[in-house]
């Protein structure tokens, strides 16, 4: 399994020269049906040791204030790195955050992070979780001191960066070596798009794909199933969460959120920025009859998206082709 996924990554890789599959070297490769990434590891050279350290930190619960919460507690691999069954994030001291945890994959193609796009670099994305009283509830000083005094961390930093020096920059860079490598590109949809032999949509999936292209792609644009813009899809007349306007200060951004990816949507329930919907049926019914005329409602949705029962089933069948089991089960990304 491990070998297979690496071999697949290898097969898609654009620059194959520096990699040999035998070594199981951690690589970042651009899938054939994806554009060039935003994050290129230019200032953060990817290495096996850097990735391994980043992964260890990602799953290290002792980094949090009460030593109970790691990144992996909210970003769970079996849920495509979101938090299963939690409307909003659940952190230290049983504290509930205000937003639904986004899944983590294909982050190297994102220019901005968080539902409101407030964070601008994948490397600095974990800082909020680390310091938020409601997430990990700690501070960088404490984490740096803990790592300096806790074997085998000094050695791991040495292997990854050539020195036992530990600082926030190296912590964040190693975590980015883990999070940016998380690429999900082996769903049935991807294989159909890449015309891999013997793989094709069923008639229901194909009908769903056609409906999707007609009704959804203007926002959930291929191949990421988001155009990374901020919009309101009419969840509330008045949004309780400011959304994008919290960042821009512009009234016309009130209640707008980043269009979320739909990859692995089968596993990322609950849905929407506040996790209000538990099933895809509820989501589709929202587009069918539930869209509210919020002030900043996207014009494309002013009449909702009428969908009959058959169409809903077909769209659901298509959405399930976005599930990437190789990604979800890839032991390379699991807590070891």
């Amino acid at each position: 399994m491990l070998f297979l996924s690496i071999a697949l990554m290898y097969a898609c890789s654009k620059n194959e020269d520096e990699v040999t599959p035998e070594e199981k070297k951690i690589t970042f490769s651009v899938p054939a049906n994806f554009p060039a990434p935003v994050y290129s590891f230019e200032d953060n050279k990817l290495s096996n040791a850097g990735f391994a350290l980043g992964k260890k930190l990602f799953y290290e619960a002792r980094l949090s204030a009460d030593k109970s919460v790691s990144c992996g507690s909210c970003h769970q691999q079996f849920a495509a790195f979101t938090q299963l069954d939690h409307k909003v994030s659940h952190g230290v001291n049983n504290c509930q955050g205000k937003r639904n945890t986004p899944p983590l994959f294909n982050l190297a193609w994102q220019k901005a992070f968080f539902w409101d796009g407030g964070v601008k670099n994948i490397e600095t994305s974990p800082l909020n979780a680390i310091t938020d009283a409601c997430e990990m509830g700690t501070d960088i000083q404490t984490i740096v001191a803990f790592l300096k005094n806790t074997p085998p961390y000094p050695d791991l930093f040495k292997q990854a960066f050539g020195s036992t020096e530990i600082n926030s920059q190296l912590i964040l860079k190693s975590i980015a070596q883990f999070t940016a490598v998380l690429v999900s590109d082996n769903s049935k949809y991807d294989k159909v798009m890449r015309k891999e032999s013997g793989i094709s949509f069923t008639s229901a999936e194909l009908a769903g794909y056609n409906l999707f292209k007609e009704k959804c792609t203007s926002c959930h644009t291929e191949p990421f199933f988001t155009d990374f813009s901020y919009r309101s899809n009419g969840l509330d007349l008045v949004s309780a969460d400011e959304g994008r306007s919290h960042i821009t200060g512009v009234a016309s951004d009130l209640g707008k959120f980043r269009v979320p990816t739909l990859r692995n949507i089968e596993y990322t329930s609950p849905y929407m920025h506040d996790g209000r919907f538990y099933s895809l049926d509820e989501v589709l019914e929202h587009y069918n009859l539930g869209v509210k005329a919020s002030v900043n409602l996207d014009v494309q949705l002013k009449n909702g998206i009428p969908l009959n029962t058959t169409e809903k089933e077909q769209i659901k069948a298509f959405l399930k082709t976005l599930t990437d089991n190789e990604f979800i089960k890839n032991t390379l990304y699991s807590e070891s």
Binding site: N121, N167, S168, A176
Partner: protein, 256 residues
């Protein structure tokens, strides 16, 4: 004809580039040395004493300061002939609670007589959105917003009886680089040509700046703590940045 036009078009930037190159070569003389800058934190002419001393803003309102920190970056020196030298990777965080941070050392500066100094109050656009940084820009310094990427350029926290905030607090976190709320400001000051900054192999001059924390609250707009006592980016931060753009720093003297 067409070809030669292209050729010229190609040549032009080459000429420009090479002429620029020449300039820097001239500035980048063979020898380099060091100079230092001291930032003497004050409030309206009296020394800044954190936590205990009471000051008055331009509206006559009392206030105390608990925290006063600011970035000085991208320090650029000019000579009388107009040539300039940008000190690479010059990012400094001055923190009134850390005496050692108020005297900064600039190394490997080409020797010469400099008659102008210019720097950013804050951090340039690119670094606000860059990956993880270290040194002065390390988020450990408490000057980085984790929910809305970017640095706090100037941070003043304190109290005022006039403040309507809980605990009568003052929270001025100035930052943000996107128009219309861009708070990056550049400070420039000429240096008296009779006593320029003389960077020499056998001399390490010290520039002495006086820094007036009260400049946040006057200059273009007199701030009343009754109406403005908390800002973390946005339009109110711009008001404060416009105030301190010219008033925060004053070059007092140079020890050559």
């Amino acid at each position: 004809m067409k070809l030669s036009q292209y050729f010229l078009a190609l040549l032009c930037p080459i000429i420009l580039l090479s002429s620029c190159k020449k300039n820097t070569d001239e500035v980048a003389a063979d020898t380099q040395s060091t100079f230092s800058i001291e930032f003497e934190n004050q409030v309206n002419g009296s020394p800044l004493v954190l936590n205990t001393k009471t000051y008055k803003n331009a509206k006559g309102e009392d206030f105390k300061i608990n925290v006063f920190k600011y970035y000085v970056s991208n320090i650029k020196l000019s000579k009388a002939d107009g040539t300039t030298y940008l000190i690479p990777e010059s990012y400094f965080l001055i923190d009134a609670s850390k005496a050692e941070s108020t005297n900064i050392t600039l190394k490997d500066v080409p020797t010469g007589d400099y008659t102008k100094i210019e720097y950013t109050i804050g951090v340039d656009y690119a670094r606000n959105f860059a990956g993880a940084q270290t040194g002065a820009l390390d988020p450990i310094n408490g000057m980085f917003w984790t929910w809305n990427s970017g640095y706090i350029f100037v941070k003043l926290e304190g109290t005022s009886p006039q403040s309507t905030a809980t605990g009568n607090t003052l929270t001025f976190h100035i930052g943000g680089v996107i128009d219309p709320n861009n708070t990056i400001r550049t400070f420039t000051t000429e240096i008296n040509a009779a006593n320029p900054l003389r960077v020499r192999t056998d001399g390490k001059p010290n520039m002495h700046f006086k820094v007036n924390a009260a400049a946040l609250f006057t200059g273009k707009t007199d701030v009343s703590f009754a109406t403005l006592n908390m800002t973390m980016g946005g339009a109110n931060s711009v008001i404060v940045a416009n105030n301190y753009a010219n008033g925060l720093f004053r070059l007092d003297h140079i020890h050559n």
